[in-house]
Amino acid sequence: MEPLSWPMIFAKMAVQFWPVWAALVATVVLSLQFRRRLGLYGKLFDSTVGMTGFVIVMFWVFTAIFADMIITYDPIAQLSGLKNALPGTPVEGTGQWYLLGGDHLARDVFSRVVMGARRVLTIAPAATVIAFMVGITLGLPAGYFGGRLDTGLSFIANLVLAFPVILLFYLLVTPEIRSTGVPIALAAVLFLFPVIFVSVLLNSRFFTTPAKRNLYVGVSLAIGLWAYSGLAFNADPTGIWSMDPNLLNVFVSVVFVNAPTVFRIVRGIVMDLKSRDYVAAGQTRGEGAWYIMLWEILPNARGPLIVDFCLRIGYTTILLGTLGFFGLGVSPESPDWGSTIDDGRRLLSIYPHPAVVPALALMSLVLGLNLLADGLREESMRD
């Protein structure tokens, strides 16, 4: 068989991505149809920048969801004779091609990038969510009460922020450190915050009707602590919640790096908002401090927080890539983009494709997130 030309490669790839196109078209058409009833999300479609960003991000999200249908080969299978194969090289006897060529271990670059999207898009948003919960749970009281609590927490946050990120990664994400239990201890602290956040959130809202409160808080505590035991200590008896120790290590350090910045942002917003009238009204009504923080201040701080959330997913993606680039990633076989770039850069000037493809993928995802954040910022400032 003849090797494919570039137009043919792109055509073949476009065909492979068909579930993504279908889902994208459906999303955009439906959203445009109902955009007047969808609040901030609907308004996003009024700005070109925001919509472009949204489409790019959704492209990768759908790629991650439908990855199994898109890939042409097993991302870790090594086929003989296809080491560093150029894009469009046919695979003997199958009538198929290595669409974007093979890497230094003769694995299909195209399939690896697609599978890598799944890796990146599960870790980065999850880590960002946890970082946000940590930052919010600590930032709200620090900004609201001020005083010693604020001084102490801010000092700790500044400590972490003064650490060069790379150094922190080298100290936290090494194989040696896993045997000392430092990551597990960190996970034990950091993963506790989502549980605290949700229970306090529900408790402060429903404590006037104990029956409801007991049910909601009880259920969230049960699920939360169940997940907590599995994720942090790998002690879940049913085995549903568990995390590979390597992944836990990476995950925890990314959360640890992000949480202090979120803390600072939340604290700043709270200090600004706590002098508003509705806060004073709540205090006069005799509402509890946590109710005011979580149900009065937090919803009013959502604009900047949503924008920062988008930006931070992008930043987390960059951080994960950095970890992979230094070989500190999830596992050597993992198709995540950072590790793939690291693998590919050794032969960069001779065979550029194994490194360039994931590099472009990572860049487009982060660009999409930044554009989305920009669009959201523009639209949320308008009202």
Binding site: Y170, L348, V366, L367
Partner: protein, 361 residues
């Protein structure tokens, strides 16, 4: 001003001490020491031998006292073995046990010996810092003017076509981390098979096989445009977008101020308004941002020096971390943390100086 400065410096010293203690504990964890024992002693040591090696070489005892010794506020350890030979932290080289100083930590200028480079850590770090200094200098020379010009140009007339184009460029560069832009730049400019080099070589415009060099190893001896442009551009690109966006935000804010309108209504030419009235006020915020960009540059330096194999500070940090070189890694961390804290201080103090509206205490 003075009380503010003193308080800031106080907090800074406290931060530095806490951070260095954290780094010290993390680098001196039991598995790291065991690995050190096996590389320095012998690979086939028994577990007991490893334990005794650790204790005999002063790595036993409480973490806090070892940290004190390293810092130079606790007397260095000494140990006399069965043969009556006294060894200790401060007894090394030609110094005998009798006239060895009691304290020898970093406060006394003793940074220990690197196990990778087999030379005093202080020498390694200063050498490498000098190399990185050149890189930083060029990055700053490229990054600061370019980003300020982009920011001012796009903030001058908000919403214009220039603004849209430049803002998109700025967003695109902030979305491109160093390891991505480095890879792309190498492929375009320094690859013998792709990008523009093969075309240029075919036309006979370049004598070598590639336009730029894909590695910056030779830049250690002599910096040329061809071996240094790509690393400098890679680091600068990421910063340019960020600083430009901050400058733009600050510039657009200034342009809506009353005094700009007054100046315009007075009949002052537009470029005069920009240069004389707007710029001075618009550049206060970017100053802080540029200063706070230093820690980020450090990140970029580590990535770029690894990617382009430029043997500077970042490369050393990676070597130290990868090879379990505890003393060198500690020194690198101290330098890195110091750089971060000092730039934070300068940015705070500079902000107060530049902005007369802020009065402290």
């Amino acid at each position: 001003m003075l009380p503010f400065l003193l308080r800031r410096v106080g907090v800074m010293i406290l931060t530095a001490l806490t951070l260095s203690f954290v780094v010290f504990s993390l680098t001196n964890l039991a598995p790291n020491l065991e690995k050190l024992a096996r590389t320095e002693g012998s690979v086939r040591m028994s577990d007991e031998a490893v334990d005794s090696w650790i204790i005999n070489n002063g790595h036993g005892g409480l973490m806090i006292t070892r940290y004190g010794q390293w810092l130079g506020v606790v007397p260095g350890w000494t140990r006399t073995d069965d043969k009556g030979v006294t060894r200790g932290r401060c007894i090394q080289g030609a110094v005998t046990a009798e006239d060895a100083p009691r304290f020898c930590g970093i406060l006394q200028g003793d940074w220990g010996t690197s196990t990778v480079f087999r030379e005093p850590v202080a020498k390694t770090v200063t050498d490498k810092l000098a190399s990185t200094g050149w890189l930083m200098l060029w990055v700053m020379l490229v990054m600061v003017p370019v980003s300020l010009i982009i920011g001012v140009m796009s903030g001058m007339r908000e919403g214009s076509r220039t603004d849209r184009v430049l803002s998109t460029f700025a967003i695109a560069t902030t979305a491109t981390p160093e390891y991505v832009s480095g890879v792309i730049l190498v492929v375009i400019f320094a690859s013998a098979t792709t990008g523009i080099s093969p075309i240029l070589a075919e036309w006979g415009w370049i004598s070598g096989r590639t336009l730029f060099l894909g590695t910056a190893t030779s830049a250690i001896d002599q910096i040329t445009f061809w071996n240094f442009a790509l690393p400098v551009m890679t680091i600068a690109l990421y910063g340019i977008g960020y600083i430009a966006r901050m400058t733009r935000a600050s510039m657009t804010e200034v342009m809506t101020q009353q005094y700009i309108r007054t100046a315009r209504l007075k009949g002052v030419a537009f470029h005069q308004v920009i240069v004389k009235h707007a710029l001075r006020n618009a550049l206060i915020a970017p100053f802080t941002v540029i200063m706070l960009q230093f820690p980020w540059l450090l990140n970029g330096v580590v990535i770029v020096e690894t990617l382009f194999n430029y043997k500077g500070f970042g490369w050393t940090l990676v070597q130290a971390a990868g090879n379990n070189d505890i003393q060198l890694l500690l020194a690198c961390s101290v330098v890195a943390v110091f750089v971060v804290l000092v730039t934070q201080l300068i940015s705070d103090v500079g902000y107060v100086f530049l902005n007369p509206r802020i009065r402290l205490s």
